[in-house]
């Protein structure tokens, strides 16, 4: 068995950063990253992007050295992805914030509203219902992050946590401020509007959860396999017949329900912005499904049946 020599150059400056000799040809990129980390301890594997070409795509951790188009002396390029943070950490922080912030407004903690309202509660029962729904939504998300989702990537760039938290925390504080305000006006069509809204909300929450479970079951533990999702026995998953990302469809539906329930313009804005973002993600996912799978069902649209 012939050993390989691997030299790692900086993609930007082409400086020689590391030279590894006697590398096993069956080594994976992941193992090479570990070796590189030893000589440069500040660059832990998660922040290394290793490529064959300085401007090329990153190689995967699973790629095997001898299967790459390199000679026995391989030249690889390194780019620093910047400080990384785990997806789980990001999700817990970005969802924990809204949960707590909303409750602070609900309980009318001091310095938010006029002092005479401190620690009072709203006289409208829809406000209590809204608090329960909002809290349920984020508790569900936190539990899904811990027990349901299987992440393809371990980490994301650190700056994402600031961006994401600003978005979630900012919007939830903005919505909570109005819903729990002493001058809040309940929905124009009263009980009927709130009941319909609640049904939509719950239906979509169950739907969203069903999709998450279905997606989880597509992928055995520890695997990073990619498969086409199909409807299961659960009727909520039948939306897969019409849409690539029904989890996003249900998510938008939940927030439409919440908007109807609270009749609050900031909630409508949040729903709209979330919809636009999810539509962009859904289109991307749909496109990559089409690229990856020849037999991908033609009837499906990215996020809205027959429309978008």
């Amino acid at each position: 068995m012939k050993h390989y020599e691997v030299e790692i150059l900086c993609a930007k400056t082409k400086d020689k950063l590391c030279f590894l000799d006697k590398v096993d040809p069956n080594s994976t990129i992941g193992e090479i990253k570990a070796m590189f980390h030893k000589s440069h301890p500040q660059w832990y594997p998660a922040r290394q992007s290793i490529r064959l070409d300085a401007k090329g795509k990153s190689l995967k951790d699973e790629d095997i050295l001898q299967n790459l188009p390199v000679g026995t002396t391989a030249t690889l390029y390194f780019r620093d992805l910047g400080a990384q943070i785990s997806w789980v950490t990001v999700f817990l922080t970005e969802y924990g914030g809204p949960l707590l912030l909303y409750l602070m407004f609900y309980f009318r903690v001091p310095f938010i509203y006029n002092t005479k309202y401190d620690f009072t509660t709203s006289k409208h029962w829809v406000v209590h219902l809204a608090c329960m729904c909002h809290s349920f939504h984020y508790v569900k998300r936190l539990l899904e992050t811990l027990f349901v989702h299987r992440f393809s990537h371990g980490t994301m760039p650190l700056r994402n946590i600031f961006k994401n938290c600003t978005y979630y925390w900012g919007f939830s504080a903005w919505m909570a401020y109005y819903i729990n305000h002493p001058l809040y006006t309940p929905p124009a069509y009263g009980e009927q509007q709130v009941q319909l809204a609640l049904i939509i909300f719950l239906f979509c929450q169950i739907g969203n959860f069903s999709i998450h479970i279905a997606l989880r079951n597509l992928r055995p533990p520890g695997s990073k396999a990619r498969k086409i999702p199909y409807p299961t026995k659960n009727p909520f998953t039948w939306l897969f017949l019409l849409v690539s990302c029904p989890n996003y469809t249900y998510e938008v539906g939940s927030w439409v329900g919440f908007t109807l329930m609270t009749q609050c313009l900031p909630v409508a804005f949040f729903t709209l912005v979330g919809f636009i973002q999810m539509m962009i993600w859904a289109k991307g996912k749909h496109r990559s499904y089409l690229k990856e799978f020849r037999d991908y069902p033609r009837l499906r649209s990215p996020i809205l049946p027959f429309m978008l």
């Binding site: 109005y178 819903i179 305000h181 001058l183 809040y184 006006t185 124009a188 609270t262 009749q263 609050c264 313009l265 900031p266």
Partner: protein, 244 residues
């Protein structure tokens, strides 16, 4: 050597050298030349209007009224530049161009037009002059670039005069917004209060203060970007054509 058509927007960050874009076709180039010529002419009209009003009045106070209409028309017309980026005939970023044009349009309509009392302020003249000089140079820069005949003087002017014009414009804008504050607070202009059936409120006074505060991080970034562009463009002479 073929240089793609230059951006018709004063974007802070570059979006050039997109491998997919081949630059606008002949029709789009013709349209852009016409657009940039018209805009250059428009801002020249504003410049001449200012000079004539100054000469006939004998002072530089209250000149806004003499150019109010063309200012509104041509500054608002710049919204087309967002479309140019969106459609792809100009290689700049839609978001950045949108942001820059909207901030000008905001100052023109939502501050100067809406709060009559500030129209007499000298700060208005300050930013109008800064905008006028900047735009005349910028639009002629684009015109000449599109025709592949860019006089060094115009390139120099575009990448040098901003050193004075940018701070001048920003000062005029900030002072104008500041002058508008008491009137906005007193009249509750563009503001919505609770209770209402959409459970929404908006305080334009606070919003204006936030706009002023936003200049603090934004202005230095834009300014130093232009400085860096200047070094690159003027250092390498006429051969280097980096759109901005």
């Amino acid at each position: 050597m073929a240089a793609p058509a230059k951006g018709t927007s004063r974007t802070a960050q570059n979006d050039v050298a997109s491998i997919k874009k081949k630059g606008p076709g002949a029709l789009a180039t013709a349209y852009l030349v016409i657009y940039n010529v018209v805009m250059t002419a428009g801002w020249l009209v504003i410049a001449v209007g200012l000079v004539r009003a100054y000469l006939s009045k004998g002072s530089y106070h209250g000149l806004y009224y003499s150019i109010e209409r063309p200012l509104k028309f041509f500054q608002t017309g710049a919204l087309l530049e967002i479309l140019h980026c969106a459609v792809g005939i100009v290689p700049s970023s839609v978001v950045l161009t949108g942001f820059q044009v909207m901030s000008r349009v905001f100052l023109t309509w939502a501050v100067t037009h809406s709060v009559r009392e500030v129209q007499n302020e000298d700060s208005v003249l300050l930013f109008v002059v800064a905008w006028t000089v900047t735009e005349i140079i910028r639009y002629s820069f684009y015109t000449f670039s599109l025709l592949n005949h860019l006089p060094y003087l115009i390139k120099w002017a575009r990448y040098t005069l901003f050193i004075v014009l940018y701070p001048m414009g920003v000062t005029g804008e900030l002072l104008t917004i500041y002058a508008a504050l008491p009137y906005v607070q007193k009249t509750g202009l563009y503001s919505v209060t609770l209770p209402n059936k959409y459970n929404f409120s908006f305080d334009y006074y606070t919003f204006l203060i936030l706009v002023m505060v936003s200049y603090i991080p934004l202005f230095p970034q834009l300014y130093f970007h232009m400085m860096r562009q200047r070094k690159k463009v003027l250092a390498s002479g006429e051969e280097h054509k980096k759109s901005n």
